[in-house]
């Protein structure tokens, strides 16, 4: 009988002597409750061995690593195929802007899917909220306050976010409390919000947007410029280093195992290096001559004889998407809310028995999704400088695909915000690359459909191998 381990445990209740007696016996105990087979070193030799050892030491998620490799492969592939136009500052700059809208929504879709739900209504919701915000700034507010007030964009944006929250709450409440499957509720939502956005504007296209509001969408003026982009890069680099240091110190404080020092050091160099290279590259996308001239005039800059090279810098939608991803990652990993979302996805009954109010939580995930759709809608109409009745059509599919390609499992419990953003970037890279090579639209859909299914097939195979 092996009560050794167990009796030791009872020391929690204050029985110290017993522990002293039992402890020295543990070495001979088989520990049937802990059949922990010592694992043989899993590293094969050679270059592959070196890589896998590096990946293990750096504690990089191998799945994520695979996705990054995949991304690099299609980038380089398209670069060669297009004869050198894909990996240019201009193209990548546009790629980041085009990714932003789907990425913003995908960060919320991850949480929804993790709880074993789905939101099919985000495209229609984007259309509805976008139309609402467009009418508000183009017709309703101007009729009261006049056009182009400095505060118009704030009122419109906040109203849009609130509308998104309300729609999300309604759909979430029906899912959580009425017990209707989210597939049905949001399929209904897909029809309802699309229909209402038509009714609201009688099918008209609403334009133009408020001048300040337009800046949310990027465009020639909706960027932060070179110096601020560099400042952001430096702040981000410092943040990465500080985060790694504080995590290491925290684990050392408790005497836990930490990464080898070289691995942490490598991450402290690689992380910031990646950020700086990205910003450096994007900053080489300069304003066209005419725009630069005007910019110089407005800012009292002298035009040198060689012409002006003024970088656009990071676009506002990209910064909004990055900010969203950081906040959502924080919520998903560092807050109770996120922990509970994942526990519901892993085992809803266990979550409930742990005292988690699962229904309320599921409703709130839909509310978060609604707020993010509101944000994405603002960026979208600002970017297009208009809202049409078809705004956001089929966007739900891009968003779900981004989350799924990014490693979110539809069976629940698994998925990361960062993965979803990468997934969005992956999808957009594919799409924009195909446009560059001149593949016709119909064929683009075929390719994306195949890639989506292939990604999930690979994912399922990967997880099965991991479980074995």
């Amino acid at each position: 009988m092996d009560a050794i381990a167990w009796s030791g445990m009872v020391c929690t209740f204050g029985n110290r002597e017993q522990m002293a007696v039992t402890e020295d016996k543990t070495t001979t105990s088989e520990g049937a409750l802990a059949p922990q087979h010592a694992q043989a070193s899993p590293y094969p030799g050679g270059v592959r061995g070196l890589i896998s050892r590096a990946v293990t030491s750096l504690e990089i998620d191998t799945r994520m690593f695979g996705m990054i490799i995949g991304l690099v492969v299609i980038w380089v592939g398209f670069h060669i195929w297009t004869g050198g136009t894909f990996l240019t500052p201009r193209n990548l700059w546009f790629l980041t802007v085009q990714t932003a809208i789907v990425a913003i929504m995908a960060t919320g879709m991850v949480l929804i899917i993790v709880t074993r739900n789905i939101d099919l209504s985000v495209g229609s919701m984007l259309g509805f909220i976008g139309m609402f915000m467009a009418l508000m700034q183009a017709e309703w507010l101007p009729s009261i306050f006049g056009f182009d007030q400095w505060y118009t964009w704030i009122i419109v944006l906040i109203a849009g976010l609130i509308l998104g929250a309300i729609i999300g709450l309604i759909q979430g409440a029906v899912v959580a409390y009425a017990g209707v499957p989210s597939f049905i509720v949001t399929l209904g939502g897909l029809l309802v919000w699309r229909g209402l956005s038509w009714v609201m504007a009688h099918g008209r296209t609403i334009a133009p947007m408020d001048v300040t509001f337009q800046l949310l969408g990027g465009g020639a003026r909706g960027t932060v410029g070179g110096p601020i982009s560099w400042s952001i890069a430096i702040v981000a680099s410092l943040a990465i280093v500080l985060l790694l240091i504080s995590r290491r110190r925290n684990r050392l404080k408790f005497g836990f195992r930490v990464r080898p020092f070289w691995a942490d050091l490598a991450l402290m160099v690689l992380g910031p290096a990646l950020v700086i290279v990205a910003v450096w590259f994007l900053n080489q996308y300069y304003m066209p001559e005419a725009v630069a001239q005007q910019f110089a005039q407005e800012n009292g800059l002298e035009v040198p004889p060689g012409g002006l090279e003024i970088p656009f810098g990071l676009a506002n939608p990209v910064l909004i998407a990055l900010g969203t991803a950081i906040v959502m990652t924080f919520i998903a990993t560092r807050r109770r809310f996120g922990r509970y979302v994942y526990s519901i996805g892993g085992n809803p009954e266990a979550a409930q028995l742990s005292g988690i109010r699962t229904k309320r939580l599921i409703m709130l995930t839909f509310m978060v999704m609604g707020i993010l759709v509101g944000l994405a809608a603002a960026v979208q109409i600002a970017r297009l400088n208009s809202a049409t009745a078809g705004l956001g059509t089929l966007q739900e599919l891009s968003v779900i695909a981004a989350a799924v390609i990014g490693g979110t499992s539809l069976t629940g419990g698994v998925g990361t915000v960062f993965g979803a953003v990468l997934g969005a970037l992956f999808m957009q890279s594919l799409q924009s690359g195909m446009v560059l090579v001149g593949i016709e639209t119909a064929m683009q859909d075929v390719v994306i459909g195949v890639v989506l299914v292939a990604a999930v097939v690979a994912d399922v195979a990967y997880r099965r191998r991991q479980a074995a």
Binding site: A5, V10, A32, L33, P35, R334, Q352, G413
Partner: protein, 264 residues
């Protein structure tokens, strides 16, 4: 151990508990009690209402009527949180672990340690988990992997650690050995004896009559949602308890023919 019948109030008393699902009485007017340092075996066939009764104590199931007393005080238990507030911890037959979350995450699920501003303090939770596991299951090493990748025994130790870590006074164990091998079952038996010595009251649900005879001080038998009766283990034979489970008759009502038929 405090013997029933002494003047002290029981640790828990569940009085006249009833639960019905759509007109079917899953539990009907059941009264049981539990004293400090006592193991109460709760037995009965499938569908006898054991689990439903116990869920009303752990807060997982609302009772239609009845009253629960903890140390003589009437208490309201509507949610698992309420139960935990009174020191009632439950180890479910299914273990109730979130498979995608690591051991510390499961240990503290619903009761996370946080920093001042409400951020999860994963290091502190891992530290506490390492400490309790160091005593409970010294070979346990996988603190950072989802519990889905742990063995059955390891998962069980996470579930048990969770119940014991928060200073339980009343421990409900629903079929704690059903999914375990012989060696692991022995470990759980050892644990139950140890906890008993610490003065914790344990309600042990099992359909293994040998388990119950080995560990319990008293045995409560349920049949079709009703309590057949509660008997001190030393006053009855295994056959008499079997008769209670199957026929629903107390030992003194039992005829020799009925007892003989049990083995027919």
């Amino acid at each position: 151990m405090t013997a029933p019948g002494d003047a002290v109030a029981p640790l828990v008393e569940m009085r006249d508990m009833s639960v019905s699902f759509g007109g079917v009485h899953a539990v009907k007017d059941v009264t049981i009690d539990l004293f400090p340092g006592e193991v109460l075996g709760l037995v009965g066939g499938n569908g006898a209402g054991k689990s439903t009764l116990i869920k009303t104590l752990s807060g997982a199931q609302a009772a239609d009527s009845g009253q629960i007393f903890v140390e003589g005080e009437p208490v309201e238990i509507h949610t698992p949180i309420d139960a935990k507030k009174w020191g009632i911890e439950t180890i479910y037959q299914t273990l109730a672990l979130a498979d995608n979350i690591d051991a510390p995450g499961n240990m503290f699920l619903g009761r996370e340690l946080t920093s001042g501003i409400g951020n999860l303090d994963d290091s502190a939770m891992e530290d506490a988990t390492r400490k309790i596991m160091g005593r409970l299951n010294p070979k346990f090493e996988n603190f950072k992997v989802p519990v889905s990748s742990l063995s059955g025994g390891q998962r069980q130790s996470v579930a048990i650690a969770r119940a014991v870590h928060f200073n339980a006074r009343i421990l409900i164990m629903d079929e704690p050995t059903a999914a375990l091998g012989p060696a692991e079952t022995d470990q759980v038996r050892g644990l139950i004896r140890q906890l008993k010595e610490e003065g914790i009251g344990i309600i042990l649900i099992s359909h293994d009559i040998h388990d119950v005879f080995d560990l319990a001080d008293r045995i409560s038998v349920m049949l079709q949602g009703r309590l057949v009766g509660t008997v001190p283990k030393h006053d009855v034979t295994m056959d008499e308890v079997l008769a209670m489970i199957i026929i629903g008759k107390m030992p003194e009502e039992l005829t020799q023919t009925e007892l003989a038929d049990l083995h027919g």
